[in-house]
């Protein structure tokens, strides 16, 4: 019963019920109109025929007198065509006609009556209904002219029955159809909400059922599933990040704590000053890591997209080259600039600048010639395949094929680079900023070195 009540509350059922009511009312109206027309029209016809006959007989009476009328009535009564006649004297005795006696209600001067009467059929006596006009003639004689209306009544009854059946069936089919439709719909909705409840309980691997009909519910389930894939991916990332953070933040914190504790224990001013000094440096490192994490989170959250403005990528690259040129030159290296003018994208200037500094910083750290230790960095902007593209390349040791996917993950530092300062977040931020700008980043072998190409889809 609970399930039935639930079906009744569904929007499908409500819609079906409304539709059913509208359908029933209009069907009823059409059938009612047909019924009314048929019945009334038939009665009208009968009445007209009777009226005409009464007029005719009254005329005969006036012209041929009592005997003439008697004769005609006797004549007509013989025909077994459903016509009813009765001619009586002033005490009500039959003089002619096929009725046994004056029907009840045939009192007064004249008028319409309807009455039951018996007839003889092949199957024995039968009760019929007649409609008649009665008329009092001079001298107390009474004339009754009528028609058997059993057929007409039967027709009306048949129409009435058909009408009620039609309405009844429409109602039954409508209600059960609505019920089935809503139950089917409800079952699918129920399975979707049951799945979401499982997911809420913590099982993120669960997916919404898809029937394959590609109807609106399937499409809803499909987009929910896509959303779940995204969420699951993010959650997995989060889990990994939290354990990485736990490691990468806890280690320096532990180191700091040990150092401060040891310095307190020795109580010597010199040791304490040294401990404080290195604690301060380590705190700055930690803060830098923390800020980088926040920037990545912000870039990945995608809120910054609301503040996107047109950014001239070419100008930004030129500014970057101007900012970095002195330091590269001081190292004896080369900063090569290949800029197609006015390559524009919609973006966040600060984040794009940070993306570039992270890549250039990386090239400065790892893009040095293994023998001469001199950095060679090239910055390039161009429209490639009609897409604004930024390429930053170096001639350093590069990244092995197997590591290229991994390096953009948070806190991942390759063995080769462990000794250089850094927190393993630079490329993660780059990846986050690229994603924010709906771009695609490809790391390639520059033979030798690393080539980072970023295509923006704006």
């Amino acid at each position: 019963m609970r399930i039935n009540l639930k079906v009744l509350k569904t929007s499908t059922f409500r819609l079906a019920a409304i539709y059913l009511v509208v359908f029933a009312v209009s069907t009823g109206a059409v059938l009612g109109y047909v019924y009314w027309n048929t019945v009334v029209l038939l009665q009208q016809q009968t009445d007209d025929t009777i009226g005409a006959e009464v007029q005719g007989l009254a005329e005969q009476y006036r012209q041929r007198g009592l005997s003439g009328l008697l004769e005609i009535v006797k004549e007509r009564s013989k025909e077994n065509n459903g016509s009813i006649y009765l001619f009586t004297n002033f005490v009500g005795r039959r003089l002619a006609g096929n009725l046994d006696g004056l029907p009840v209600g045939a009192v007064g001067k004249e008028g319409w009556i309807e009455f039951p009467y018996g007839i003889q059929t092949k199957n024995g006596p039968d009760k019929h209904i007649a409609r008649a006009y009665h008329l009092q003639l001079a001298g107390g004689f009474k004339l009754v002219v009528g028609r058997d209306v059993a057929e007409r009544r039967e027709l009306a009854r048949v129409i009435r029955t058909a009408l009620f059946w039609a309405l009844g069936l429409a109602a039954v089919f409508g209600v059960s159809g609505a019920f089935l439709l809503s139950r089917n719909f409800l079952a699918r909705i129920d399975s979707i909400s049951a799945t979401s409840r499982t997911i809420m309980a913590g099982d993120l691997s669960e997916r919404m059922p898809v029937t394959g009909t590609n109807d609106e519910l399937d499409r809803l389930a499909t987009s929910l599933n896509e959303m779940l894939d995204q969420i699951e991916g993010l959650m997995m990332g989060m889990k990994e990040v939290s354990s990485n953070i736990a490691h990468d933040l806890r280690t320096p914190l532990t180191r700091m704590r040990t150092r401060v504790e040891a310095a307190l224990r020795t109580g010597k001013d010199k040791d304490q000053t040294e401990a404080l000094q290195s604690t301060l440096e380590e705190t700055d490192q930690l803060l830098a890591t923390f800020n980088a994490l926040l920037s990545i989170a912000k870039a990945e959250a995608g809120q910054a997209r609301a503040g996107f403005v047109p950014v001239n990528l070419s100008e930004l690259v030129e500014e970057m080259s101007e900012l970095y040129e002195p330091i590269v030159e001081d190292e004896g290296g080369m900063l090569e600039l290949k800029v197609e003018p006015d390559v524009m994208i919609a973006g966040d200037r600060q984040l794009l600048a940070q993306l570039m500094t992270n890549l250039i910083d990386n090239s400065l750290k790892y893009g040095r010639d293994p023998e001469s230790n001199i950095p060679t960095i090239s910055l390039q902007t161009a429209m490639i395949d009609e897409k604004p593209t930024l390429i930053i390349a170096d001639k350093g040791v590069g990244i092995a094929d197997k590591d290229r996917e991994r390096v953009t993950e948070r806190f991942v530092r390759l063995e080769e680079s462990r000794s250089a300062p850094g927190n393993g977040l630079g490329l993660s931020l780059v990846k986050g900023v690229v994603k924010l700008h709906k771009g695609e980043m490809v790391l390639q072998d520059n033979k030798p070195g690393l080539k980072v190409s970023i295509k923006f889809n704006t």
């Binding site: 900012l323 992270n358 400065l364």
Partner: protein, 244 residues
Amino acid sequence: MKNTANNSKENSNGQNSAMHILIIEDDLEAAGWLKKGLKESGHVVDHASDGETGLALALSEPFDVLIIDRMLPKMDGLTIVKKAREEGVKTPVLILSALGEVDEKVDGLRAGADDYLPKPYAFSELLARVEGLVRRKDTEPQQTVLKAQDLEIDLLTRKAKRGDQEILLQPREFKLLEYLMRNADQVVTRTMLLENVWNYHFDPQTNVIDVHISRLRGKIDKDFDTPILETVRGAGYMIRAHKP
């Protein structure tokens, strides 16, 4: 900014004299350290620990600088700045906040603050910025020639000379020098330079600023006996307006 140059705030050394500073900060320990540091730098410091008290103080007394934390009990920092500005208080405001992202910064400046420093900060950075705020207020904006010792730059012709000798500067070097000279006798941090000369609101891992400074130094100091552009250890750089 509308105030005319107020040279009474400078003594003969070109150093700022004592400033009257109001700190509105609910973290009592942080406020205590800040107060101690500013006092040691020779300033007079008042402290309020919630927004309402802070605003009342800011409205009732003339301060030289207001240092306001963003998240405060009773009234948040941005509201204090807005209300103070509505009441016609023109005192320079530095907002301190744990919300350090660039757009938060924009919110702060839009509310009427003059500078914004994300927490945690280095004290030297804060001091440089606070003193910079007062200096900014004192500088006459119409000035077209800036001078420090025998170094002179013309903001209209974009030319620089030291003594009689003209110095050729790249446009960015000129901007860098201009910023340093506008803030003469103030410590200018690397972050301040990145923000104001390059308009980048983040710190690259590589210290690119130092190289630019050393190039500039090569042009303005190398051939002369007295260096004008000094390095302040652990803080930043400073140009002295007068010979020490």
